[in-house]
């Protein structure tokens, strides 16, 4: 029997707003101390938002990708570290729930994510590989029904606070670098040897330290599908969409602050248009571009859902790459514009118009899977695939 708890009677957006309120309160501290956004993530869990994307039959709420993206954008307005932690967790869930059908272990684990509000991390980046998601050096070692894996993982966000980590590797020690699998290890099945500290310009609260990952688990925890398919049909697209959503959130909060600044100036001298008003109009137009980009991508993703051919088509990959490039660049222009509007009040920390954190957090967007790498991939695809030129498709 399934009795709706009071929390699920509220809309997802309302629950996200309540969590965001808590996250916003701690955003500056989390950033300054470069620590895990514990209060924000505890609030997200209290709102039971961790498993919303998981199908109802596995204990979730079957939320659409658009609904998940909206939660990311709401959290992004409040605290980018909380939003990024949440978004990366949802990216792992998308891979798990779409690509491990009929795997009893993974289905049971999805249920656990909902019941226990577990947080899933990701270890794709590896020493010697950089951000090339589709290559691995390390390989799983399967002996009987046990899988062992050691990975020199250069960046694992919230690694120390995750309840499980999905790790990519080669399928076998003799496999080529691109023949990969993904394996989910739970916290009791791995150790993390700390190798690098995450002391960065922005996104400081993601605590994306480097570790040597060493895991041992039942072999059934290897995802049955090749990672190549998971990456093409889910991970890349969902990453760009959910990142885009939270980056929109960061920029939207910057525009909110700039608008308050302009309004305050207008109130002080009625009858005169404040000097920042024109720039605000421009920022508003750029923000709308980012929004349209993400929303169009979500529509395309949802239209292709359940159709592996549509999701692995080149035109689709080009579209998703373009969303990443467009949003990651435009948010910087927007926040910079807002900084010009707010002037020193925006440059200073601790004012209602402070934008330093926004700008620093936003700078990670271009590097998070390097835009140059993505443009390189798109340019290869455009050698054969046709650019989509219809307006409505």
């Amino acid at each position: 029997m399934n009795v709706a708890s009071p929390i699920t009677a509220l809309s997802l957006a309302e629950r996200a707003q309540r969590a965001a309120k808590v996250a916003a309160e701690f955003a500056d501290t989390v950033d300054r101390e470069a620590r895990f956004p514990k209060e924000g993530m505890d609030a997200v869990k209290a709102e039971r938002l961790m498993g919303i994307q998981i199908p109802v039959q596995h204990g979730g709420e079957g939320a659409t990708m658009s609904e998940v993206a909206e939660v990311c954008s709401i959290l992004g307005k409040a605290c980018a570290a909380t939003a990024m932690t949440y978004a990366m967790h949802q990216i792992q869930i998308a891979s798990l729930s779409d690509h491990a059908p009929d795997s009893a272990w993974h289905e049971a684990f999805l249920k656990r994510i909902c019941d226990e509000q577990l947080l899933i991390g990701s270890a794709t980046s590896e020493a010697g590989i950089g951000g090339n998601l589709r290559n691995s050096v390390c390989a799983v070692d399967v002996e009987g029904d046990i899988v062992r894996l050691e990975k020199n993982a250069t960046v694992i966000s919230y690694g120390a606070d995750a309840d499980a980590i999905m790790v990519t590797s080669r399928r076998h020690k003799d496999s080529p670098p691109s023949d990969q699998v993904a394996t989910l290890f739970t916290k009791d099945q791995y150790t993390l040897e700390h190798t690098a500290e995450w002391d960065t310009l922005g996104m400081r609260g993601t605590c994306s330290d480097g570790y040597i990952f060493r895991g041992e688990a039942p072999a059934e925890q290897i995802l049955p599908k090749p990672f190549a398919e998971i990456a093409a049909q889910s991970m890349l697209a969902v990453s760009h969409l959910l990142w885009g959503a939270l980056w929109f959130g960061i920029a939207a909060d910057a525009v909110n602050r700039a608008q308050s600044y302009v309004r305050a100036a207008a109130r002080r001298s009625p009858g005169q248009t404040p000097p920042g008003a024109l720039r605000l109009a421009e920022a508003s137009s750029m923000l709308q571009q980012v929004k349209s980009n993400v929303v169009a991508g979500l529509k395309q993703f949802e239209a292709g859902k359940g159709d592996p051919d549509a999701l692995s088509a080149m035109g689709f990959a080009v579209a998703m790459n373009n969303i990443k490039i467009g949003t990651s660049q435009t948010i910087l222009d927007i926040i910079n514009q807002c900084m010009l509007i707010c002037g020193i009040q925006g440059y200073k920390n601790g004012t209602p118009y402070s934008l330093g954190r926004h700008l620093r957090d936003a700078h990670s967007a271009q590097l998070m899977i390097s835009n140059d790498r993505i443009l390189g991939n798109t340019s290869t695809m455009l050698l054969v695939g046709k650019q989509e030129t219809s307006l409505l498709r």
Binding site: R171, P176, P177, S178, D179, M314, G315, T380, V384, G385
Partner: protein, 83 residues
């Protein structure tokens, strides 16, 4: 046709193993075909067979094995001759 495909695979596939050791139905991605190499291979096929891959065949499945490539090429030559 499969021997032309094998020649092109040798030239563009950048595989870590010899193409001779790969069966017609073996998974090329498991053999190490990358997405970059598959695009180069596709360009090679277009040139060799004087065809153009339609959007519907620009996906992983079309390049998953030598047989799959042959099937895609045949399908294209048929429809493009009719057209």
């Amino acid at each position: 046709m499969n021997s032309t495909i094998r020649d092109l695979l040798t030239k563009h596939g950048r595989l870590p193993v010899s193409v001779d050791t790969i069966a017609d139905d073996a998974d090329l991605y498991e053999a190490g075909l990358s997405s970059f190499a598959s695009v180069q291979l596709m360009l090679g096929l277009e040139e060799a067979f004087d065809i153009e891959f339609p959007e519907t065949l620009l996906n992983r499945k079309s390049f998953s094995s030598i047989n799959a490539i042959a099937a895609s090429v045949s399908q294209i030559t048929e429809t493009q001759q009719v057209a």
